[in-house]
Amino acid sequence: MKSRSRRHSIEDLVTLKWTLGALMGLVCITTLFNIHGHNQLPAVVATLAVSIGIVRPAWVAKVPQWIWKFYALAIIPLVLVNVMSKDTIPALLDLNTWLILFRSLNHTKRREEMQLALLCLFLIIMTGILTATLVFGFQLLAFAAIAIAYLLVSTAIESKIEGDYELLERIREKNPMRVGKAFLSLVDTRFAFLGISMFSTLVFIAAMVFIAIPRIDVEDKVSLFKMKSTRSLTGFSDRVQLGEVTSIKNDESIALRVDVPENATVPITPYWRMLALDDYDGGAFSLSPGLVDLQGSPLASPYHSIRYWPDRRFSQTPSNEFRDRWTFFLEPEVSRYLPVLGPFRHMTVSKLSDLSIGPHMHYFALDDINSKMISYQIEGVDLSGKVPDVPAAAYAMMLSSTRDGVTRPNRLSYPQTLLNLPREEASADLFRRMAGEIRDGRKLDALSFARLANRFLWERHDYSLQVQLPPVAGMKDPVARWLESDLPGHCEFFATSFVLLARAAGFPARLVVGFKGGEWNAYENYFMVKNSDAHAWAEIYDGAGSWLRVDPTPGSIGPGTNQATQLVSERVGASDSSAFLDSLRLLWYRRIVNYDEATQREAAIQLKDFFLAYISVAEQWAVSMGEYLYEFVTAPWNIWRFSYFSFLLAILVVAFMIQRNMALNFRELILAPFRRGDPIRRKAGKVLSRISERPSGEAANVFEDLQRLRFGAKESWPNPRLVFKAARRLR
């Protein structure tokens, strides 16, 4: 059937289709920007090229054919080099990008349209598996909308040219490509209605499927799709040079979001502990080699945690117990080490085999730094600031098993490293002298020493992010040089000084890195921890199986004092627009990424309950109506009731007559507002257009009646319903 919409010329449709195709390619290419650690050059080039093509289609038309041919040939070596030098996945992504760039600017024939759609679909599926960000959700939505419009316009062109492809070719050659005009012509009720209804149907079906199908962990099933991350923050690794944590503070992006339980009590400035470090040398704290070796050992897997922490559980599903659950959403490429608040009862991660634990330093690390957002849940959190020590009995067996055959001369091994001082004698002496000053000949326990040492540091030094250390003769160690001066310093100076002072006084101590504080998001009640919240503090062994948190940085609470806490409902926090946007992201994480089967089941049950409740309400209403009707009918009749009923009947009869004479079915009635002109005239025109020749005999009358319905005066119309009925019989 020939398309009846006269407002869309084929030129406009062709322009529109071309632009939509390019837009579709552009949206797909921009999804690549979500992938961290992927070479963005092809995506940037392709985005620029396609954007220019959309804004200035005439320029694309001017590109001579040989350039495209050359480009098509050039892709082959480019991809070969890619495959050689990279993994399969990045190479595949790059190839796809180059192909989409080519195709989205050159799609005129039908097979080319199909190619473009398939390429885009492939890329969007790939990026969807590799990333699952909120932005990607919007991109996917945009892609679906554009793809529907693209196919719609493509179909409209097909029906319009009726197989006359030569005509189409001619139109393409001299098409002026007025994009704005073409888009305006799309603002047509029929097109818009069709497109919007298709799009909303798609979204609705997708939502239904999302609720209904069982969740699968894509990463689990398709091990092919794993991107190696290249970027990471050195401040949160197993070796921290002085100043590295502070350098993270320049990054204002959000590193961690923590969803807290409702009605919970949360610390006002929580410490998000990532890793503790024991070995010290020349201004750098690191994990001692024995502990590093342990990371790769099977003993570090969470399955063996019962050995050290009989009261802790690690699993892939939440526990059955009813306790507070803190859900952590860690952004990609922050650290392998997962921030936690301290000791806990239960930890839920999506994949246990990816996790390794360090019981001595109380850390929980991923095998690889995460390239996409990961989430984990912690239950039964202990906010006291104490971290239990691993029983001494466990040391020997573990450490001896990892140290076999490796000789490390001149180095102490764990746990001796916990008392390590600078190897430089002058510096070590300085720390011993200062520690002696603090002790002042008294015999102190760890807590008292920590308080005194904190006061000692605070009295001598102020806080500042900028530090210029003066050269001191005979001393290279930066911490010692700082300690000897009265210069201001940042948290790392305070923390390392404290650790070394404590060690000099004979207390085992270690440096802890992580985040401190974080902004409270009042929209969705969660912590937004930024990279600029990076912090370093210390832990000192109390001699009774616990490590006490000591934050020697000025302005922190003293060691051993309980942290100030607040109810979630009482917290006030950021409520500006950026906080709102961020809360959307958390909603996305909560609902889409971290959507486990329990919540899914809950949603399905809620949906079912809602429908059941609705049905029961409807049922009650029907029953009560029935009873009312029964009573009404069985009540004695009088003249009023009789006239009331006859009036009702008359109205019904009239309504029925009107309906019959209007000869419109419900479809016509519903669609009428979206169509131009009289619905009966339209319908008659539609029926007429199907009758190609004027029929003879009985049918001629029907034809004439149809013509009268379409073109005749309304006063002279025959009964339309009968005419349409007769016309149906005709066919």
């Binding site: 025109g685 004439e704 013509q707 073109f711």
Partner: protein
Amino acid sequence: MMSEFLPTDALSESQKILGRLKEAMGRRIKGKEDVIDQALICLAADGHVLIEDLPGVGKTTLAYCLAKAMRADFKRIQFTSDLLPTDVTGVSIYDERDRSFHFKRGPIFSNVVLADEINRATPKTQSCLLEVMDHGKVSVDGDTHAVGTPFMVIATQNPVDYEGTFPLPESQMDRFLMRLQMGYPAPESELEILNDGQPSYDELEVTDVVDPEEILSIQKTVRQVFLEPSVLEYVLKLVTATRTESEFKAGVSVRGSIALKAASQARALFHGRDFVVPDDVAAVALPVMGHRLNLRRPSSDAMEERRMVEGILSRLLSAVVQPR
């Protein structure tokens, strides 16, 4: 839109009258039904006809038949180069008895006027037809005289001979509702004509079948034929298309669009309908608009130019989408 409702009996009556006319004319003019139809449509639409073709194909016969069948007052004016306007309209003559001028009516005061070989007269004489063809009135010496009702001018001209002719100006052309072509008859029709012999025009056996009053009632009925808005829009689009077409010197005038509408209505009535379908418009578009259009680059050959104009018109007809 017609607010008046067209009664069914008026419709069938009109159709019957036109049928009778057609049948009577068909008896004399063999194998030219389409031309007869169009001439009758013109009559029904209260328009004038220009019949343009080679000599001897039956132009004058058609005009005679039409006039005779109507039982109407019929005059024939043979246009020549020395014909004067007063020869057509009439002249005031001094009457010595009452010493005043009396208007002596010319041949134009009639119901059907055959203006034969109209292009042979001088433009001055041609122009004397302008007023009467528009308003049915003649103004002579400051007095206005109404001509008969119904009033129809049937003009003929030979487009091929240029010798001693004065081509009709556009303003004159515009006053004809349609331009018709006779064309050669089909061989079998011509055989019939040959068999019949050739009676003189006055011997034409066309019986009076219609009264002038009946024609007037038909013309009134035609004006009541219904046009649906989309069909009216179609008329407008066709006219607009000629105005934007670059190959034409000028598009169809407003009088032309009114003519197209009236002719469509007449055709609908002729086919027994009280409403116009797009096909009616398309069918009369060529004869109604063809003579109103001139090419920007005129051709030396009149027949050639006419063919080209009609070619462009057919293209426009297929380009403008009919309402469905």
